[in-house]
């Protein structure tokens, strides 16, 4: 098992939920901690710490969605250690970053002894803590398209405490070009067994632009897109309700110029 920031692995070991025979520490592997922008693509190394990404000027210029989202990821001590790649590989449906890369249409660059391959974010998250990574594969970096002049980013979530996993959250991205909204992607947190891209909502919003759909239409679309889990405190219905409210907020922001996060 790979050890990156250890902020998910170590608690699991502490609780005896996991007893791997071997832990492979990748923290000293060179080249995995770099952030750079080249030709319209922002590359983030898998070992970049949450705090490093949050404070990166390149990231706030080209992927402000991440800057915003990372403020909601845990607390400073955890952000100083936890890694971008670790969060994606951990594939927690309640985590912020998996939804962000989904909304941004990122590509995940994976290496193994056999060679490299690139996996689209849509194809990476399989299910409950499950990813497309095969045995022996390591996530090396993540490529994101830069925001650009026509881009729109939105991030918000509802959590009972700052830094908690959200009751429901939304990472969304779109482009507004020539009076049309292109490829709006709404990725929801804590609304399924993995981060979920809300296809029906995306279509509804794109079709209606520049008008905004009414709240019950949003709710209707989301009923098709999402399957929020239920726990002892929060019902599926409450998560759905919050997801709907967040979607309405995102759509409102996208319509205003302020939508450029």
């Amino acid at each position: 098992m790979i050890l990156a920031g250890g902020q998910s692995v170590i608690p699991a070991l502490n609780m005896r939920l996991n007893e791997p025979a071997v832990l492979v520490d990748i923290n000293k592997v060179p080249g995995l901690g770099v952030i750079e922008e080249k030709g319209g693509v922002l590359r983030i190394g898998a070992l970049c710490r949450h705090e490093q990404v949050r404070k990166s000027v390149d990231v706030s210029a080209h992927a402000p969605l991440l800057t915003k989202a990372l403020a909601h990821v845990a607390h400073p001590a955890i952000r100083n250690r936890g890694t971008f790649g670790g969060s994606l590989c951990n594939a927690d449906a309640a985590a912020e970053l998996p939804a962000c890369v989904l909304a941004l249409g990122a590509t995940l660059n994976v290496e193994s002894a056999e060679g490299s391959r690139a996996i689209a974010a849509e194809d990476f998250f399989f299910g409950f803590f499950e990813t497309a990574l095969e045995e022996g594969e390591v996530l090396a970096s993540i490529d994101l398209p830069v925001l650009g002049a026509t881009g729109r980013h939105f991030f918000d979530e509802a959590a009972r405490r700052r830094g908690d996993y959200a009751l429901a959250g939304l990472a969304a991205a779109a482009r507004v070009e020539g009076g049309r909204m292109i490829a709006p992607r709404f990725a929801f947190i804590s609304c399924g067994d993995r981060p979920l891209l809300a296809g029906a909502l995306g279509e509804l919003v794109a079709t209606r632009y520049p008008d905004a759909p009414a709240e019950d239409e949003i709710a209707e679309a989301l009923a098709r897109d999402l399957e929020p889990p239920e726990d002892a405190v929060t019902s599926s219905a409450a998560r759905m309700r919050i997801a709907t409210v967040l979607a309405a907020r995102a759509i409102r922001e996208f319509q205003q110029n302020g939508g450029r996060a």
Partner: protein
């Protein structure tokens, strides 16, 4: 002029009473130099881990420990049959709680388990990790029995009886019927009614329960290094149940990383660890981890209350009636019992108000859950929330403002000492003064203006008030009269050392709340020396006077008064010796800043170090019959009232987002009256810490059990503690009404914050929800419940 008045004004060089002296032990703690139990390693030390019951209620049919015993490092695998002869069971009852009953509680499960987490098998190994590895190989066979989890169902005639020998599941019940309640309701102009639910939660200490037991067979002596609130109580209990001579049991308590009432009870795993040390004749350490803490540290609250209040046409309360049902787990906790909390709910509901007619019933019920017992605020948060919610409902019904209806109902200023219909006696309270100061501090009128303005733009803010009484400085009436060997008195020993410094040993204990600072401040003030010249010893039963330790907000009031009296005695002894040496009348001398001076003009006569040098090393120069005594001990028991009640007024300001159900705390204010304020900073921090725990109860914390008695959120990922990010600024101010029961005049302040905050939050929330015409009384107030109450999800109305 009383002694206190003479020593308190901040005009002497060593007048520390009333000053925010910094805590001398803080530097060590921030540098990682604390002395916690887990920091200790003894030669030949072993560790114990426990196999705990996964079932809430089951019969044990077989235990196979063969594989575990073969694991590396394992020294001993023990079941009840192995330790039965080393530790006797205990029963958590008190004589003055009439009719309370409980079953004998064994250190390890004896045939049956009654709650998830109950220890069944103990594994002693060279390391904790090895003990845990071996624990996974123990095979316990269970025959599950029906779990009884719902207190209402537990009382049904056909309910499974958890301890059949007790006959039923009712641990304790008590009723009060004072005045003419029926008549008051019949004649009332207004009646308000409510049902309320108080969530089960727990005190999450940064340092978990920890004990290191070191048995010396040569003297049959046991030393217990413990993270504990009451070392002398523990000494007695371990001696009693391990069959040891109490004089040979020593409890040593170093730094404690929070206790809040968690570390004041008898826990089977700790008893087992001690029994194993005796059995193996080796040191045995047990440190609970966070996961086992959640299932075994005592839980708190878990009350269902229905209540109503009768008022006359002017909004004056004429009667209160309430019924409290509380589930306490499978045993009444030893030795304080699990009946005290409900008892206090009855004693305190409606406390600040001058109503004459009161009827209340409490039923305390066994269930197959973790045990419930005294946690910070014991009963107060329930009593305060019930009374204050009814008060707000009454305000809405009568059209009076929330502040005004309280003013009308407070016990009149000239009525003290006042006996409440519950029997509680208040020496003197300052409800009016606290409320007026509070309203000014929070700019109550401004808040109300802001509230209406914000509502126009769809922002929903609420203001909640709560007035309360708090039990502090208990007399022996709390536990002693019930037969428990829990001291309500406490002592302080002071020794003038040759250097002129003073060593202070006290029976009250330091849990992180600053007790050591408080007693040093008091003693330094009274003696007349620099507070930094006092070295404080607490927590070691071989070294400190016999005392009760930390409970019921008594450290400053009881321990402080003992320090005050000891300081006076030492001062007189010093002045007597000085008078002889200086050929002066003692009355003409004073001690200032570590120096004997002329009382009149302050002229220096002799430093205390010189007096120390003469007394300790040159006794030959002193008159033969002088017999200087530079060590004194004084004890103090508050005996005038059952308790010294304090009072406080709280205000909470919050905002509800009706779209998401999220509640944001905006501000919080407390004006409290703990009598003489010894250290304003410590009083403020005790208040703030208490408020935060109360906010946790109202908004975040809940031990969620399934119907089968399984704790569903037993980790810090799912059990939400209040964290700094959500906490508002908490303003604290004081009204000072010293108690005349002591010279120092200090009452307690440890629990008032926790007592008031749930009520203030609930009232603020319901104030914010007024435009929607809904009310919430089911804590904690989660987004889920808010959305349901608002009808945004589900069928609408409260579930």
């Amino acid at each position: 002029m009383t002694e206190a008045a003479r020593f308190s004004p901040l005009d002497r060089p060593n007048s520390y009473v009333g000053r925010s002296v910094s805590r001398p032990n803080a530097a060590g703690l921030v540098r990682g130099r604390g002395r916690f139990v887990d920091d200790l390693t003894l030669p030949r030390m072993l560790h114990v881990a426990f196999v705990r019951s996964p079932h809430a209620h089951a019969r044990i049919t077989a235990i196979d420990t063969a594989e575990a015993a073969k694991m590396p490092g394992v020294v001993r695998v023990a079941t009840i049959d192995d330790i039965r002869d080393y530790c006797s069971p205990w029963v958590g009852v008190l004589d003055h709680l009439k009719g309370i009953k409980s079953a004998p509680q064994p250190p390890l499960a004896d045939g049956k388990v009654f709650s998830q987490g109950q220890p069944v098998v103990a594994i002693v190994a060279a390391s904790r990790a090895q003990a845990e590895d071996a624990a996974e190989l123990v095979d316990v066979s269970y025959e599950p029995l029906e779990p009884v989890t719902d207190p209402v169902a537990a009382l049904e005639p056909d309910a499974t009886v958890i301890h059949p020998e007790l006959g039923d599941n009712l641990c304790f019940q008590r009723g009060i019927d004072a005045g003419e309640v029926d008549r008051a309701f019949a004649e009332a102009a207004h009646v308000v009614e409510t049902t309320m639910r108080f969530n089960r939660h727990t005190g999450v200490t940064l340092e978990p329960r920890s004990i290191l037991c070191d048995f010396d067979p040569s003297e049959r002596a046991l030393t217990l290094y413990m993270s504990v609130q009451c070392p002398h109580m523990s000494k007695n209990l371990f001696a009693k149940h391990l069959g040891l001579d109490e004089n040979r049991v020593r409890v040593v308590c170093g730094d404690v990383g929070g206790s809040f009432g968690i570390k004041i009870h008898t826990y089977p795993d700790e008893m087992t660890a001690a029994a194993l040390s005796v059995m193996l004749e080796r040191p045995v350490k047990f440190v609970a981890d966070r996961l086992e803490s959640f299932v075994t540290d005592i839980h708190a609250r878990d009350h269902d209350v229905s209540a109503r209040m009768a008022l006359d046409a002017e909004g004056r309360v004429s009667a209160i009636e309430m019924d409290d049902l509380t589930g306490i787990g499978s045993y009444s906790v030893y030795p304080r019992t699990s009946g005290i909390e409900a008892n206090q709910v009855l004693n305190l509901t409606g406390g600040p108000y001058a109503h004459k007619n009161y009827r209340a019933r409490a039923r305390v019920v066994f269930q197959n859950k973790n045990d419930m017992c005294q946690y910070r605020g014991v009963g107060h948060p329930i009593a305060v929330a019930v009374g204050e919610h009814l008060m707000d409902k009454a305000a809405r019904m009568t059209g009076l403002d929330a502040a005004e209806i309280r003013r009308r109902n407070f016990i009149p200023e000239d009525a003290y000492p006042y006996t409440a219909p519950s029997g509680a006696i208040y020496e003197r309270q300052s409800h009016h003064a606290c409320l007026e100061k509070l309203l000014e501090a929070c700019d109550y009128k401004g808040l109300r203006r802001d509230q209406s303005a914000q509502r126009e733009s769809g922002v929903y803010r609420g203001i909640g008030l709560a007035s309360l009484v708090e039990i502090t400085n208990p007399s022996p009436a709390f536990y002693g009269v019930g037969g428990a060997r829990i001291a309500s008195q406490d002592g302080c020993t002071l020794r003038l050392d040759p250097t002129g410094g003073v060593t202070l040993a006290t029976g009250v204990t330091e849990q992180g709340q600053g007790t050591e600072t408080i007693v040093a401040q008091v003693a330094a003030t009274v003696i007349g020396i620099d507070v930094n010249d006092i070295r404080v010893i607490t927590g070691d039963t071989d070294a400190v006077p016999y005392g009760g330790g930390t409970w019921a907000s008594r450290g400053a009031g009881i321990g402080g008064e003992a320090a005050f009296q000891a300081g006076k005695a030492l001062r007189w002894n010093i002045l007597g010796v000085a008078a002889t040496i200086l050929q002066e009348r003692a009355e003409a001398l004073d001690i200032r800043d570590g120096c004997i001076v002329n009382a009149k003009d302050g002229m220096e006569r002799m430093p205390l170090s010189e007096l120390g040098r003469i007394v300790y090393f040159r006794g030959d120069t002193l008159p033969k019959d002088l017999a200087p005594e530079l060590v004194v001990t004084r004890h103090y028991t508050q005996n005038q009232y059952p308790f010294c009640f304090t009072n406080a007024a709280h205000a909470c300001h919050l905002e509800v987002d009706p779209a998401t159900g999220l509640i944001r705390l905006l501000n919080y204010w407390v004006v409290e009256d703990c009598g003489t304020v010894i250290n304003p900073k410590l009083v403020a921090e005790q208040t703030r810490g208490g408020v935060v725990q109360g906010l946790g109860a109202a908004l975040f914390e809940e031990c969620l059990y399934s119907g089968e008695g399984q704790l569903m959120n037993g980790s810090l990922a799912e059990y939400l503690l209040p964290m700094a990010g959500e906490m508002p600024d908490i303003f604290v101010d004081h009204v000072t009404t010293p108690t005349a029961t002591s010279e120092l005049g200090a009452k307690g302040v440890g629990e008032a914050g926790t007592a008031g905050a749930p009520a203030a939050v609930m009232n603020a929330l319901n104030d914010a929800l007024q435009p929607f015409g809904v009310e919430m009384t089911d804590m904690p107030f989660t987004p889920e419940k808010v959305l349901r109450a608002l009808g945004r999800i589900g069928g609408g109305g409260e579930d």
